[in-house]
Symmetry: C2
Subunit: 333 residues, 2 copies
């Protein structure tokens, strides 16, 4: 069972993955996992190489058979496990709990070489429908407090398998950075009685300097205090705290919006590795007036070094106004 | 002038380096800077290729000539500038200030191919004496609130020049993560009336599970909630909040201690890239009862991915007890 440990100074939780404990040689002699061709566990015909699916969109075939267009399976090497009760314990001045949670993989396409930037619009939207469906299912479990959905694309961004996929981790705690964002938004709400994200949208629409593009439902914007070059946020125009309560029309539009940002990244930055993360409210909370879900997309262009780790203080060599201009001028590709 | 911008939601400050604004092609076609041989600006004989030195330890020669064993120079492409007054301004709901501060490079040896793990003990201690001397000088400037000292070793850890060096950035604000650590330590102090780091030392000495090794002045320990495999903290046994107030005997011992940890890393992890960061109290604060300076050493073995960025929640595949055992068993090399 993985161990969840809390840093006693900062309150930061860490998953210590005892089950798959890695020894020094695992790091130094780690082979690049080439998954091309017939050995890829995410390719059709290899459904038996993953744990049984928890969700699939399919035109034909039964569960765990070919014929799917999208498939969600538990991670074969999960960082967290669903079995058991949440058990918090002390150990002298330290705190830990057992690693209850879920860790799932969303296989976005049966095509090994597909990418979100190039997939049909409908297939990209389906990925977001799958995220929503999985979150709505997982939130029924009251032990689970937060579901983080993310995608690592490319080796530099931390992807270890080539076949296009995203991941979802359901946690028994609200992570510190998420809580910090919620608290910051709440402080602003107490002061102004307005959602800070709604106010940001308004200011960005007025200045237009950092807008990458807009759709009926979303704004793609380079945030004012971007940590990374070409960091881009996709923010829904209408206030809503939970990604999982987005209506079908919004999810359809979201697929198009994300795909467009990724195509702009590909054009301007020559097919960069990237990370994408959905920022949304804790699953057990009702609709919140002060929080506003959104997606953060970060092309992996610079290496994060000691300075950033030590301080949470980033040096960004590309002003967001310039990043937005480059992406804007790339057109709606 | 670089721009310091504050994220309105989380309060995180970001340096937007407008002076050296990087365009898309700078990322996609960035050459690896090979600095071997005569073109290295940090090698003796090339003193004119850096800004004039602000500190040097030398056996012979005048300022900005050869004969030095250690040299500190302003960064040629500084993230922050010393000139001007701190000027905070609003921009709608956003906050920014001009990028006042200092950014210096500590050239640790005249030998291009040297590394801290292999340099003589005295030369490693001298690096810490240089850090101390520079902090004591910079703290005279009341505009500067925090000095972060860090080292990126190896390309994977973000080093862009090969010649062994560390860096120092003096900031007009206390960074968010540093403030968080200070606040966490203070909360514990209010509750227990004891320093949390002193208590951690005591608990670690009692259990011995996570101790890598100990000297008269320091404990090298794998922290209980390690974020990264083989993360190692070097903590002084005697309570002290400011690195810069360490006595010469402590700095001598620190050189030996850091060199020993790095030699253990080299042996166990096959010469990994690493980051090192000095965690110390804000320079304008007096001695604090609740904070305890220390050094965090992080070998760069895993890629940090979307999950970590989104949540500040880390998955560590190597329990610190095992990491400590491997490093302990590597002996005092």
């Amino acid at each position: 069972m993985p161990d969840l440990r809390k840093d006693p100074i900062t309150g930061r939780w860490v998953i210590i993955a005892t089950d798959r404990a890695r020894r020094p040689a695992d790091f130094t002699r780690e082979p690049v996992r080439s998954t091309h061709g017939r050995i890829c566990p995410f390719c059709p015909g290899h459904e038996g190489k993953t744990p049984p699916e928890v969700l699939a969109y399919r035109g034909s075939g039964g569960p765990n058979q070919s014929g799917w267009s999208l498939r969600v399976v538990p991670n074969k090497f999960p960082a967290l496990r669903v079995e058991g009760e949440v058990d918090r314990q002390g150990e002298g001045l330290y705190d830990h709990m057992n690693g209850i949670g879920a860790h799932e993989v969303i296989i976005e396409s049966p095509d090994h070489a597909a990418s979100l930037a190039e997939m049909p619009e409908k297939a990209v939207s389906d990925v977001f429908f799958a995220f929503r469906d999985r979150i709505l299912d997982l939130k029924k479990d009251p032990r689970l407090r937060y579901v983080i959905v993310f995608k690592n694309h490319g080796e530099a961004a931390g992807a270890t398998l080539e076949h296009t996929h995203s991941q979802l981790i359901a946690l028994p705690v609200v992570p510190k950075r998420v809580q910090e964002e919620l608290d910051g938004a709440q402080r602003y709400y107490h002061f102004r009685e307005r959602c800070i994200f709604c106010d940001i949208l308004q200011q960005e629409l007025a200045s237009r300097q950092r807008i990458v593009f807009e759709t009926d439902h979303f704004l793609a914007v380079a945030p004012y205090a971007s940590r990374f070059p070409f960091e881009t946020w996709i923010v829904p125009r209408r206030h809503s705290s939970h990604f999982s309560s987005a209506e079908p029309s919004i999810l359809h539009n979201l697929g198009w919006t994300v795909r467009t940002v990724l195509r702009k990244f590909e054009k301007v930055l020559e097919r960069p590795a990237f990370n994408a993360i959905i920022h949304t409210a804790p699953v057990q909370d009702g609709e919140l007036d002060h929080y506003h879900w959104h997606i953060e997309l970060i092309p992996k262009l610079t290496k994060v070094a000691g300075f950033e780790w030590g301080t949470g203080f980033y040096i960004n060599p590309t002003p967001p106004e310039e990043a937005a201009r480059f992406l804007r001028e790339a057109g709606l590709v």
